[in-house]
């Protein structure tokens, strides 16, 4: 049911898509390097108001760095980002975007309510402290010292603080890290309840289930790049496909891509690797119209696909090919 809901949402959204100026997030070629390490290597991203987007990828994929740039906490080395048509800093100053960050960021020597009151005082118009405490499910511990709060309670406090400005866009960076299963479910229910009001939500996670259960759209990131972008259903389609591997020198990449149901093609020196929904069509083509040998067909589940798309093994696997992410460089668009 979330996917049906998400699908509807996306359809209405794509009709108004050309108005890029009012996009919640519009990023072009976002790049960030730390010394010789490229943390984010050219991310293009447009998020329309009302979307709930998951940034899914393993640790170190560049999720946090990307979020830092969306929030103006890090300056991109190249590219640009606009939040509601403004600079991130301006969007924050106008209360258009808020965020729940991974760790730290709380004063230990004041109470939960004081933390919220302090934050509220910095916004010209903010929701009442008790209202956001209630919505974050921590009204009962308002008088507790922050120092005495559990990890989950602190995270809910950060969520409450993020709700104060009633922002159009809420960004969450790995919000459930360190929570137990129940805490995680409660937290997501609160977020979900909140998103019903039409708030745009972008959250980073390395939990596949979280992305699947709570996002309309999933963006897979690996090594600072977007490797797939689509609805949860589209990502599942990708996952439900099969991989066809064959020994074939000088494969015709264009011809392979033209086959219906082909998701991605990776041409290596003497072999070719194709991911497709319809593996039979690819196999038929390879065996009848090329000199391909050793044709191998393997099926994958969602987990495999995720790992294949995002793990470092995948990178090492294709490191010898000319384009590091050839197989994945074409993002899969759900409404393409």
């Amino acid at each position: 049911m979330p996917s049906v809901d998400g699908l509807n949402r996306r359809m209405t959204i794509s009709q108004s898509a050309p108005q890029a100026a009012t996009a919640a997030v519009h990023a072009v070629g976002l790049t960030k390097r730390y010394g010789r390490v490229t943390a984010v290597g050219g991310i293009d991203l447009t998020v329309q108001p009302g979307e709930v987007v998951a940034f899914l990828g393993p640790n170190g994929a560049g999720k946090t760095t990307t979020i830092d740039m969306l929030l103006g906490l890090a300056k991109p080395d190249a590219g640009s980002v606009q939040v509601y048509g403004q600079s991130p800093r301006s969007a924050i100053a106008h209360g258009l975007v808020s965020a729940v960050m991974q760790t730290g960021g709380l004063l230990e020597d004041i109470t939960v309510r004081e933390t919220v009151q302090l934050t509220a005082s910095l916004f010209p118009n903010s929701r009442p402290a008790d209202e956001v405490l209630k919505r974050a499910g921590i009204l009962d511990i308002g008088d507790r010292n922050v120092k005495k709060c559990s990890g989950g309670q602190k995270q809910r406090l950060r969520f409450a603080m993020a709700l104060l400005s009633d922002p159009g866009l809420l960004i969450l960076d790995e919000p459930t890290t360190g929570m137990d299963v129940e805490g995680r479910r409660d937290f997501w229910n609160a977020i979900r309840e909140d998103a019903k009001s039409g708030r745009t939500v972008i959250f980073a996670t390395h939990y596949l289930e979280e992305a699947d259960a709570y996002a309309d759209r999933i963006i897979l990131v690996r090594r600072g790049r977007i490797v797939a972008d689509g609805t949860a259903a589209a990502i599942k389609n990708l996952a439900s496909g099969r991989t066809i591997r064959a020994s074939l020198p000088n494969a015709d990449e264009a011809a392979l891509r033209a086959i219906v149901g082909v998701n991605s093609v990776e041409v290596r020196q003497d072999s070719v690797l194709v991911r497709a929904g319809d593996s039979d069509a690819v196999a038929r083509y390879l065996l009848t119209q090329t000199s391909a040998k050793d044709v191998e067909i393997t099926s994958h589940n969602l987990e495999d696909a995720f790992l294949a798309l995002t793990s470092d093994d995948a990178a090492a696997d294709s490191a010898d090919s000319a384009d590091d992410t050839a197989e994945l460089s074409e993002p899969i668009r759900s409404n393409a």
């Binding site: 906490l73 924050i92 760790t103 709380l106 004063l107 004041i110 010209p124 159009g168």
Partner: protein, 269 residues
């Protein structure tokens, strides 16, 4: 849910006046200082205790050749003013140095997710340091008053004002160090440094009791000018212009250092 703003409404929002500087923020900031027992111990308890231990026994010892019976001043008054200066400078340094803790814990990063302007943040620290410094001066003087120290009214006022406002030099020092080193407890190593500076500033013992070499060096240290000027209303002696230069130069050095360290900090994020 009907109270939630529409996206069109949101886009008409304004930024806060004064960059986010406000009384709620200030009140919570000040409450935090008061809740810190260590801060209170060093800014209020210690100067008062030092006065009671060292100054009070000398209440009947005349400061000048004029005897106390003839309306002369007592050494206790001299020490009282010194302790007020000491309390205020420790208070200001710790209030300014609080930025170190907030940087170390990531709170300053959290604040960057709010409209709060960094200058308004620093202004809040400065005002809270002034309030804490005032508390230190008032507490010390109250102890002196209750203990029966006699000073002309204008001396209470003028010396108190100098001790209080002069402590801004140390607010700047606190901010400077606070932006320079990310540490959970900046006062742990600033405390002993302040004690040495106070000694060189003649707050614990009159400088003329030190060897000449120490006296010559002491004139260039940051507490010297403040101590001289704060005690001037009492002793009636004209203070050296060097004392004024001393305060102005050290304030400039610390403020500039704080500004540079602050800029480096906000650039790095």
């Amino acid at each position: 849910m009907s109270t939630i703003a529409t996206s069109a409404e949101r886009l008409t929002r304004s930024t806060p006046p004064l960059g986010g500087f406000n009384l709620t923020f200030l009140a919570i900031e000040f409450r935090r200082r008061l809740r810190n027992r260590r801060t209170l111990a060093f800014t209020v308890v210690m100067p008062v205790a030092l006065f009671l231990l060292v100054g009070l026994p000398l209440k009947d010892t005349p400061l000048t050749s004029q005897s106390i019976a003839d309306g002369g001043l007592s050494v206790a008054a001299y020490i009282l003013i010194s302790m007020a200066v000491y309390g205020a400078m420790v208070a200001s340094t710790s209030a300014g140095g609080a930025v170190a803790v907030e940087r170390a814990t990531g709170w300053s990063r959290q604040l960057r997710l709010t409209p709060l302007n960094p200058v308004a943040y620093i202004a809040t620290k400065v005002v809270s340091s002034l309030v804490l410094g005032l508390l230190a001066v008032v507490a010390t003087f109250a102890a002196g008053l209750i203990a029966g120290v006699q000073m002309p009214v204008q001396v209470w006022i003028l010396s108190g004002l100098v001790a209080w406002l002069g402590s801004l030099v140390f607010t700047a020092l606190g901010l400077f160090i606070g932006y320079l080193v990310p540490t959970e407890n900046v006062m742990q190593f600033l405390g002993p440094i302040l004690a040495v500076l106070a000694l060189f500033g003649g707050l614990f013992t009159p400088l003329d009791q030190f060897p000449q070499v120490i006296q010559d060096i002491a004139r260039w240290t940051p507490v010297y000018g403040l101590g001289e000027i704060a005690r001037a209303p009492l002793t009636g002696a004209d203070f050296d212009m060097l004392a004024v230069v001393n305060i102005v130069v050290w304030l400039a050095i610390f403020a500039l250092g704080a500004a540079l360290a602050f800029r480096r900090d906000t650039k790095r994020v």
